[in-house]
């Protein structure tokens, strides 16, 4: 168990370091001079040289790599190219709004997803099962920004049930404005969760210990909830881990369509302004988050699933 933990954590660290290294390589492979891009075409030779020294670009490449890694790993993501405010602080200020949205989308995805998955597994082959299966792949296929725009058109503009833009003030208003973006972001994941849960429930239902439980005369309801669902829910945790990570950056579409603040909106605006430090900083933060959530999901499974726990401890 401990060696599994250590290996899994080590892999996550290696992945993050690789991403940082790839980022460094990419920044050095940019066509053209990064300094001139940052300062604009009218910068004098002296200004360029001063900026170069300030950014450490006059140092040997190895020194630059070392500085790049050490500053990032200390949580210093550089400062905004325009205002000079630390990037980490700007991102942290925007993060809560995106996290609310991701949480809302999770609620939208998990509750119906689990219900549909359980119902279609227990009614395998029925009309309900087949309709759910088609609907699941359908919502998974349609991109979230298309769903977001149609939700905006129907429920905010034509029916006026929800405000069209903004994150709102006060708890009730915020919650009200969170509904449409959450549905747009979470809808596809209903399909993912329903599908994976149905498949894993069917697998568990075919196992010997379930047959034994039946032979002992346990009620069907008890078998489903106490024996099948407990194990079958585990793969769903992996999907949720993936989901949270993808939603965090996929939120950019919902944030733009519904005019919400958040890190997606921040990146989108930064690209237009060619504000590289913010774009790179957000990539690092979302990637770190993604790796962390997946790590937690994997460890949670190792902890909860006696089969994995026993295999890895051997």
């Amino acid at each position: 168990m401990l060696s599994y933990l250590a290996r899994r954590i080590l892999l996550s660290v290696a992945v993050v370091l690789t991403v940082i290294a790839a980022l460094f390589a990419m920044m050095h492979a940019i066509p053209g001079d990064a300094v001139r891009t940052a300062l604009g075409p009218r910068a004098s030779e002296a200004m360029v040289e001063a900026y170069r020294v300030k950014m450490g670009l006059d140092q040997p490449v190895l020194v630059q790599i070392w500085r790049f890694f050490s500053t990032i790993l200390q949580g210093d993501l550089g400062s905004d190219a325009i205002s000079g405010v630390p990037v980490a602080r700007i991102i942290l200020a925007q993060l809560p709004d995106t996290l609310y949205l991701v949480a809302g989308a999770m609620v939208v995805a998990v509750v119906p997803g689990i219900w549909l998955g359980v119902m279609s597994a227990t009614h395998r082959g029925s009309l309900f099962d087949r309709v759910t299966s088609v609907l699941s792949v359908s919502v998974m296929a349609v991109p979230s920004f298309v769903i977001a725009i149609y939700l905006l058109l129907i429920f905010a503009i034509h029916l006026s049930w929800f405000p069209a833009i903004g994150a709102g003030e006060g708890f009730a208003d915020r919650l009200h404005r969170l509904v449409l973006p959450s549905v747009a972001l979470g809808l596809a994941w209903i399909g993912y969760i329903a599908r994976i849960l149905r498949a894993s429930m069917l697998e568990v239902m075919g196992e010997n210990h379930i047959r034994t439980a039946r032979a002992f005369g346990l009620s069907e309801r008890r078998i489903m909830f106490d024996y099948v669902l407990r194990i079958a829910l585990l793969p769903t945790i992996t999907v949720l881990g993936m989901g949270i990570g993808q939603m965090l950056s996929g939120a950019v579409f919902a944030e733009i369509v519904f005019g919400r603040p958040g890190i997606g909106k921040l990146v989108y605006d930064s690209i237009a302004a060619r504000n590289y430090p913010i774009v790179v900083g957000t990539l690092l933060v979302t990637t770190g988050f993604f790796v962390l959530v997946n790590l937690i999901a994997d460890l949670l499974i190792a902890f909860l699933d006696p089969r994995v726990r026993n295999v890895v401890s051997r």
Binding site: V15, V142, P143
Partner: protein
Amino acid sequence: MSSAVDPATAAVVKKPRKARGAMRRLVSDPLGALGLGLIVVTVLAALAAGLLPHDPVKLNPMVRFAAPGAEHWLGTDNLGRDLFTRMLYGARIALVISIGATVASLLVGLLFGVLAGFGPRWLDSILLLLMDAMKSVPTVMLALVLITWTGPSLWAVVLVVVLVNGPTYARIVRTQVLALRNAEFIEAERALGAGFLRVASLHVVPNIIGPLLILAAMDIPIVVGIEAGLSFLGLGVRPPTPSWGTILFDGFSYIRDSIWMVVAGGLPIVITALGFTFLGEALRDTFDPKLAKR
């Protein structure tokens, strides 16, 4: 005479019948037939785009936000351009990009998967780490950062798709190669003196290409979504070139003036995405039931 048919000839004769049977099974699955139908509609739309009387990029300020009618079947956009024409031209971009980028991802995946599977242990470890790192960067962020550097273009969209899907295919190829590597027929081939390239191209690739193509077909909706999404953000196809994403963005900007732009941009994305998804599911069920358990 008939009993002396050369086995190779028999295989050649037999093949079309087998393919026809599979095709019939595919179409007899209502969802597969629907998927195929939706894709045929999209392809026909892309082909027919040039036959329409209107110019997809010509401005016509006199007829802004026209409702659908005999002259403009889907109405006009904020600049008076014919939406039906733009929608059909958008199909060209969507199909060319999604199929081109998917083929590119497959080639990259095959190359790196075979390298990792056949190569020395250290190369395998490095490639695996790189694949894991690529998969750990959220798709949208990867696209945004990459395009900040390369600037918006169709090639940038293709690059994003290759970086997102390539590692997935490479991983699958690698696993298959590792499984095949020590198979008897491969060892026999090697004992006969076959080189790495010959074994890889004649024996390994044909063995894994089937399931890989099915997975790729199921990934096409994602690729269509990436192209449209990036174009929507102004990071893919540049205006005035008609892409479903740019049409949708114009529609979003003028959503209170007309709903027809949102229809012309969104509906074809939904149709194509559902078409490839349904067909992919049916293909998988028909040709590779083992995959269905994934």
